[in-house]
Structures are given as C-alpha cells and as structure tokens.
C-alpha cells in the first residue's frame, strides 16, 4: 500500500513530465483503438452497400467485376443481357421482384443508372434500409431523373432543374444527348453508398435518348424529337444487369445455379454478400498497413515513456537511497518503477479511450450529414480490452529496464549517495 502511495505522490511531484507522457500514450492508444474502430466501421459500411438483394445477375464475367459495375458503378460491363433473357428469369415463380440496371451514360462524371420503379421499392442498403427522399419523389415519366445526394449537393442542383446526359462515363464527353433533357424530380437522402453519386433515370429514358443512335453515335439526318420518342415503343432490347429478390431465400443457390447454367446466353449470378466479402478481401490490404502504422505509433509512445522513466533515474537516485535507508527492500524499489509504468499505462489507456469516445461522439452528426454513414457510438469491446491489457503489459515490460537499473544502483549506492 505504501508503495502505491509513494508511486502516486512521486508521479504527482513530477506531474508535468508525467502528464506529457500520459498524453503521448493516450494519443497512441486512441490512434490504435480509433483505427480499429474505423476499420470495422469501414468494413461494415462496405458490406452494407447492398442488402436485401438475393442475387445480382449480369453477363458472364468475374463476380468481383460484376459487383463493381452493378453496385459500385466502377468500370464497365463487358457485355449486356438480352431483354427476353431478363424476362424469362423475372417470370420465374421463385422471383419476388427484380430491379433492372442499365449503365453507360453519365452526367458531368456521375454515372447514370437506368432503372425501374422497383428500385425505390426494393433496393435496400445497410440494415435493410430503403431509399428515402430528401426532396421530391420517384420518377414517373420518361424524361424524369432522381439524383443521389452527393450529385445534388456538389452540382448545386435543386428540383425542376433540367439536365442533359452524356454518352459514356467520362466527365467530358463529346457526344451529348442535348436534344432530350431530363428534369430532376427527386433528390435522395445520403446513404453512404455509391447511390449518392448516381443519377437515376427510367429505363425508357435511356432507350429514348438512344433511339436515334446507331453503334454509339447519333445517326445524321435521322433525328427524333423528345416528344416523338416518348411515344414510341421504348422497351429496351438489352440491359446491363439486374438485381433479384426472391420469395424465399432458401431458393437462392438453386436459382443461382439455374442462371449460371442458362443455355441461351452466358450469364453470371452472384450472391452479393459473398461477392462483397471477396471484394473486401482483395482491397482489404490497407487494413494491414493501418495496423502496422498504429503499432509503430504505440511503440513510439511506449519508448517515450521509457525515455521519461530513464531520464528521471538520476534525479531519483537520492529518493531510492532514502527509501533503502528507511527499510525498503531492493525489490520494492524495483516494484516502484513497475507500478509507476503500470499506472501511467492504465491512465494513458483510459484517457485514450475517452478521447476515442468523445471523438466519435463529435464526429457522428457530421459524418451522418456529410456521408450518410451511421457511425455506431464507440464503446470498448472485448478486442479493445485485450488491446489495453496488452499495452499495459508492454509498458510494464518496457519499465523493467529502468527498474533494473534502479535496482542495481540501489544495491551499489547503499546509504551514501553523493549528490
């Protein structure tokens, strides 16, 4: 007990350097815990980009590629799917709903997605959350568009704004669909998914702007006006991909096999969860890098503590001699240093936890508003507790060096320390 009291008082006596050490440890701990937290949040947010969809179906390619272009709007499809093929699968008795996806156009660098009404009824992300509207409503007619939150925010668009689409995915396209402008009728709330960066239009709209095109270019002298086009048969011949919701999830793998074995056209069906995990693993290398960095930060913090402990050894030589004179054993001197490191580490960890907790609390409303991500409040979990115990053990192990030096000195110095 007296040792604890002595440690405490001695620390308090040197409080400025001790507090600085404490803060450096707290910062390393909060970095370590914070990065761990961000890693988990990023993963869960990534994995919740799409939910409630049982299968993603596209032309045969790799599962990751299919997922990238259909869900993340990255890259392009190698091939399309015929409308009749889509119809056949959509009519399957096990299928509850389908969302058609038609990609290939853009607006100022934002991908344009041609889809159907079911998109707003059945598309779910995160925790089975449906899309919600900040302003307006879903599109109802051919030339209406619904913007993702980031599109509207970055471009400063409001409802009733007229926009034109460009052919291809680039920000500066030479071929624009100038004669068939779309009207913004809805703006979605932030979702924290690629939807925020997407312009949604009807499948028929996509068909209409290409009706007077042939092989990716407008046909000269064969222009059809917007009004006229809207009245024509706008059923597309091909779509890029489609999402499938089943009546019963247990049928997922059977239907997946059926689609993959479809004779008329080479198709690929993937289970989004499985493909997402696969994709995460292939891009998840940064996790390792983050971890390595934070471990180095922690080691730096502990080395800082070690330096402080070592630098106080000389000025505390007298302290140790006094303690020996009043009857302290050498091992008690040794223990004094371990206790000190232990206290610093535990307090540093607690302070670090507090910093992460407050940091997350402060970041929550901002991240939700800005990115639509719902951060969970940070509370120390089992993994964090293990980490804290490990850090404390490491700190105590580090402190055996000054403790040993003090121990040996106290044996040599005895009661007669020269000042």
């Amino acid at each position: 007990m007296i040792l604890l009291k002595l440690t405490w008082r001695s620390l308090w006596n040197r409080r400025i350097s001790v507090i600085l050490t404490l803060i450096s440890i707290a910062i390393s701990v909060s970095l370590l815990l914070g990065v761990e937290y961000i890693r988990k949040e990023a993963k869960s947010s990534f994995l919740s980009t799409i939910s409630g969809t049982d299968l993603v179906v596209g032309a045969r390619s790799g599962p990751v590629q299919l997922l990238l272009y259909s869900v993340f709007r990255i890259g392009n499809a190698t091939n399309n799917i015929g409308w009749d093929t889509y119809q056949t699968i959509a009519d399957n008795k096990r299928v509850d709903w389908t969302i058609t996806l038609s990609l290939g156009d853009s607006h100022l660098g934002y991908r344009v997605l041609g889809t159907n009404q079911d998109y707003f009824k059945h598309y779910r992300y995160a925790d089975k959350r449906l899309l919600a509207f900040e302003h307006g409503k879903p599109f109802g007619s051919v030339y209406e568009a619904v913007l993702g939150s980031e599109v509207a925010k970055t471009l400063g668009y409001t409802l009733d704004r007229k926009i034109t689409l460009s052919h291809g995915a680039g920000a500066t396209s030479f071929s624009e669909h100038k004669n068939k402008p779309f009207t913004v009728v809805g703006i979605l709330k932030p979702t924290g998914t690629p939807i925020d960066r997407t312009v949604h239009v009807t499948l028929e709209g996509i068909e209409a702007i290409h009706i007077d095109w042939q092989a990716g270019a407008p046909v000269a002298g064969f222009e059809i006006s917007a009004e006229k086009a809207a009245k024509m048969n706008l059923q597309p011949e091909v779509i890029t991909a489609f999402l499938v919701g089943l009546k019963s999830r247990s049928a997922t793998f059977r239907l997946q096999r059926e689609i993959n074995d479809y004779r008329q056209e080479p198709l690929l069906a993937v289970v989004p969860g499985v493909a997402l995990s696969e994709l995460w693993q292939s891009i998840g290398q940064f996790e390792v890098v983050l971890r390595i960095i934070t471990i180095f930060v922690l080691v730096a913090g502990l080395l800082g503590m070690l330096t402080t402990l070592l630098s106080t050894l000389n000025e505390r030589r007298r302290e140790m001699a006094i303690l020996r004179a009043v009857g302290a054993y050498p091992w008690q001197i040794f223990l004094l240093f371990l206790l000190e490191a232990f206290l610093i580490a535990v307090l540093g960890c607690l302070l670090g936890c507090l910093m992460v907790f407050i940091g997350v609390l402060l970041a929550q409303p901002w991240v939700t508003a800005e990115y639509g991500l719902h951060l969970r409040t940070w509370l120390p979990g089992w993994d964090d507790a293990k980490l804290i115990v490990l850090i404390t053990i490491a700190a105590v192990i580090f402190s055996t060096l000054p403790a040993l030096i003090a121990y040996r000195r106290t044996l040599q110095d005895g009661l007669t320390v020269k000042i």
Partner: protein
C-alpha cells in the same frame, strides 16, 4: 550489553589486493553516544555501509544487538536495518513529495516492529516533531519549503520513530551553521537518551567531538591505513 561488536573486520573492494578497512576490535555499548571521526578516505563510508548491512565484510565478524550480522542474507540485513536502525544523512534526507509528518512515519510502513513500538504512528510523529521544536504549522507543509536545519530535525524524528536501537548519523550537521548545529546535537542527544538509542555519529569535523563522551579516531582503529 554491547550493541556493536566488531572482531577482526576486514573489507576490500572486489579485485583489489589491499584492504581498505581492517578493524581488529571495536565495541559500542547500548546507549553510548559515539563520535567516529575520520577524514575522507579513512574508510568512514565503508564502515557505515558495513554497519548498515549494505556491504558484507570480506572477513571477520560483525555482531549487532548480539546477533551475528556478517552471515545474514541481504534480505535479513535489510530487515534488520528497517527494524533496528535510524539513518540520518548529511543532506536531502527527505522525500520531497511527502509532508514532514509523512516523512517521519515512513519507517513504520516498512517495519512492523517500529510501527508497533510507535503506537499511534501519526501521533508519535507529531510528538517527536514537537520535541525537536519543529513549528506546528510546518508539520503538514511540503518538506521542500523547510530550511536545511528544519529538514535535518525532521530527519532526526524519522530516525527516532519506533525507537530503533541504533542511530547512524552520517555528517548530519555539515550543512548547518554552528548555532543550529549545537542545538541539533543537543536535541538529538536528549531524544536518543529518552529512548535509550545508541548514536553512532560520523564526521570529519573535530569541533563536534566536545559534545560526545566517547570519541573514536578512525585512523587509530583502522589498521589498513
């Protein structure tokens, strides 16, 4: 009863061929106030460390309180020091982060024997400080705010608490001026007499010798020189 008995005590540093200390015989009786005078280099420090159990003799015997001390393990020697010895240094005797009273009670935390003997430790510390004429207002103040003379009196109180049999004082007055020094020695004597502690007072200063009934010149008893 002899408190200290030295018999053919020899000490040499490891790897050296010559003894730095060889005392054929020295006896100190209980309650004696002994002044051990020696210049620096006369083996003063070594003798103190031997008596305190920090060093072990290369040869010969040390008996303290009629117990053989030279064979004792370092653990036992530490225990003995905690239980039976009060030590006063030249200067900086006190832990800067404790109050005067807390400094005085420190030995009682490391020795159950001295804790038991002091009864109410806190009260006993206050009494000692009172007797040593430390102003009441200074008891709970940080020791760094005390003058050197006041600090040395606190150190005496700490050496005396729990009535240890032996008080070892290593040049405790060298930082004090003459007036303070004489008062300091007077107080030390009166308190030590009251609890029958033996004082071994080491210094190079011959002026202090007049206070002591027994003066030992280290150069005369150390045959290694």
């Amino acid at each position: 009863m002899n408190i200290v008995e030295l018999d053919q005590l020899r000490y040499r540093w490891q790897g050296q061929s010559k003894d730095i200390l060889h005392i054929p015989e020295l006896n100190i009786a209980q309650g004696e106030h002994v002044f051990l005078r020696g210049e620096s280099g006369s083996g003063k420090t070594t003798l103190l460390n031997l008596l305190a159990g920090i060093l072990t003799p290369s040869d010969g015997h040390i008996r303290l309180l009629e117990h053989d001390f030279h064979h004792a393990s370092s653990m036992k020697r530490d225990r003995f020091r905690a239980d039976h010895m009060g030590v006063i240094f030249q200067q900086f005797n006190l832990l800067p982060y404790l109050s005067a009273t807390e400094n005085v009670t420190l030995p009682c935390h490391f020795s159950a024997r001295r804790r038991d003997k002091s009864g109410d430790t806190e009260q006993s510390a206050i009494q000692l400080l009172d007797h040593l004429q430390l102003d009441e207002s200074l008891r709970n103040s940080m020791v760094t705010s005390l003058s050197v003379g006041q600090q040395q009196r606190v150190a005496v109180a700490r050496a005396l608490i729990g009535q240890p049999e032996i008080i070892i004082a290593d040049e405790p007055t060298s930082a004090l001026d003459t007036g303070t020094r004489d008062r300091f020695i007077e107080l030390l004597f009166s308190k030590a007499e009251a609890q029958k502690s033996t004082i071994i007072f080491v210094s190079h200063d011959p002026h202090i010798a007049e206070h002591f009934p027994r003066v030992i010149e280290l150069s005369e008893i150390n045959k290694a020189l």
